[in-house]
């Protein structure tokens, strides 16, 4: 099953991936990283189809995709 992994320390919570994912897999999380950003989490992981669009738009190379 496809999945995304978030490098939580690199995420700056810009939300580009959140609005890009066609299946609403990603959401801003509750926890924050050492820089204070509420990093993104795969809130709905089973819906991931491995299209990579989230990783493509992520400015900070914080998303890696497996399929």
């Amino acid at each position: 099953m496809p999945k995304v992994e978030i490098r939580s320390e690199s995420c700056k919570a810009c939300e580009y991936c959140v609005v890009t994912c066609p299946n609403k897999v990603l959401a801003i999380g509750e926890a924050n990283n050492s820089k204070g950003y509420h990093y993104v989490v795969p809130a709905n992981p089973d819906a991931c189809i491995g299209c990579k669009l989230c990783a493509i738009v992520c400015p900070d190379a914080a998303i890696e995709v497996y399929k």
């Binding site: 700056k12 939300e15 738009v57 400015p59």
Partner: protein, 245 residues
């Protein structure tokens, strides 16, 4: 399970870019690093940084690089490439650097058809120094030095670098792209790759102008900047290929 999207190898392990959240400088650094991986040129790339936010990339990626005096990156890249023709040289500059103090160096490097690549970030402001009006600031767009917005009577009109350089004979490739959604990020990467490939093939001066945002100095959230770009920036600066030979 196979990894189908990975962080490029020349972003320093564990590093976070110094750019603000949602800044497309970060996206472009990632894309340049991906292209360098794909072309297998990591061990012979030289980055020439302009002055401004762009130089935050120097601690983020592992490519060899040097900084230039403000605006002079195209002159220094010309010299470096002529002395080291086997290396792959690119300048990475913002609009405050390339289109203002450095416009002469840019025009003459293009006019000589120097065989290097220019990555030009146009976010219509001076980011690092605090949001002053740039040559590329839109008519009506506010800046710390134009609090009522750019007034053409007083400040002139935005400078269109691709169109300006397209009046010259020598440049090989001029394209304007943006990073505001996935489709455009893919196009931007293709343009960057072509601009590097042209240099490998000895075709001469290639410049990619990337329409970008500055959430901090525009006073917007990252998502708001995307809407602003669609409504305003891309109307003033149409995307497209201005030269390809």
């Amino acid at each position: 399970m196979e990894k189908i999207y990975t962080r490029p190898s020349t972003i320093r392990e564990g590093a976070t870019s110094g750019f603000c959240p949602g800044c497309m400088h970060s996206t472009v650094h990632k894309l340049v690093a991906e292209v360098i991986d794909e072309l297998g040129i990591a061990n012979k790339v030289m980055t020439v940084w302009g002055v401004g936010c762009c130089i935050l990339g120097s601690g983020y990626t592992t490519h060899d690089s040097f900084g230039s005096p403000h605006g002079r990156a195209c002159a220094m890249a010309s010299a470096y490439k002529r002395c080291n023709p086997d290396e792959i040289v690119y300048s990475y500059q913002g609009d405050g650097d390339l289109a203002s103090i450095g416009i002469a160096e840019t025009i003459y490097a293009a006019n000589r058809g120097e065989n290097f690549t220019v990555i030009f970030i146009n976010n219509s402001t001076y980011g690092m120094t605090g949001g002053q009006m740039a040559p590329t600031t839109l008519v009506g767009q506010k800046a710390t030095t134009a609090p009522k917005g750019r007034d053409p009577q007083q400040h002139g009109y935005p400078v269109h670098v691709c169109e300006l350089l397209a009046t010259l004979q020598a440049p090989a490739y001029l394209e304007r792209v943006t990073c505001l959604d996935a489709k455009n990020v893919i196009k931007t990467k293709a343009a960057i790759k072509k601009a590097f490939q042209n240099q490998i093939d000895g075709k001469g001066f290639s410049l990619v102008e990337i329409m970008s945002n500055c959430p901090t100095n525009w006073g917007m959230t990252p998502l708001e900047t995307l809407e602003y770009m669609k409504e305003h920036t891309l109307k003033e600066f149409p995307l497209g290929v201005f030269r390809d030979r």
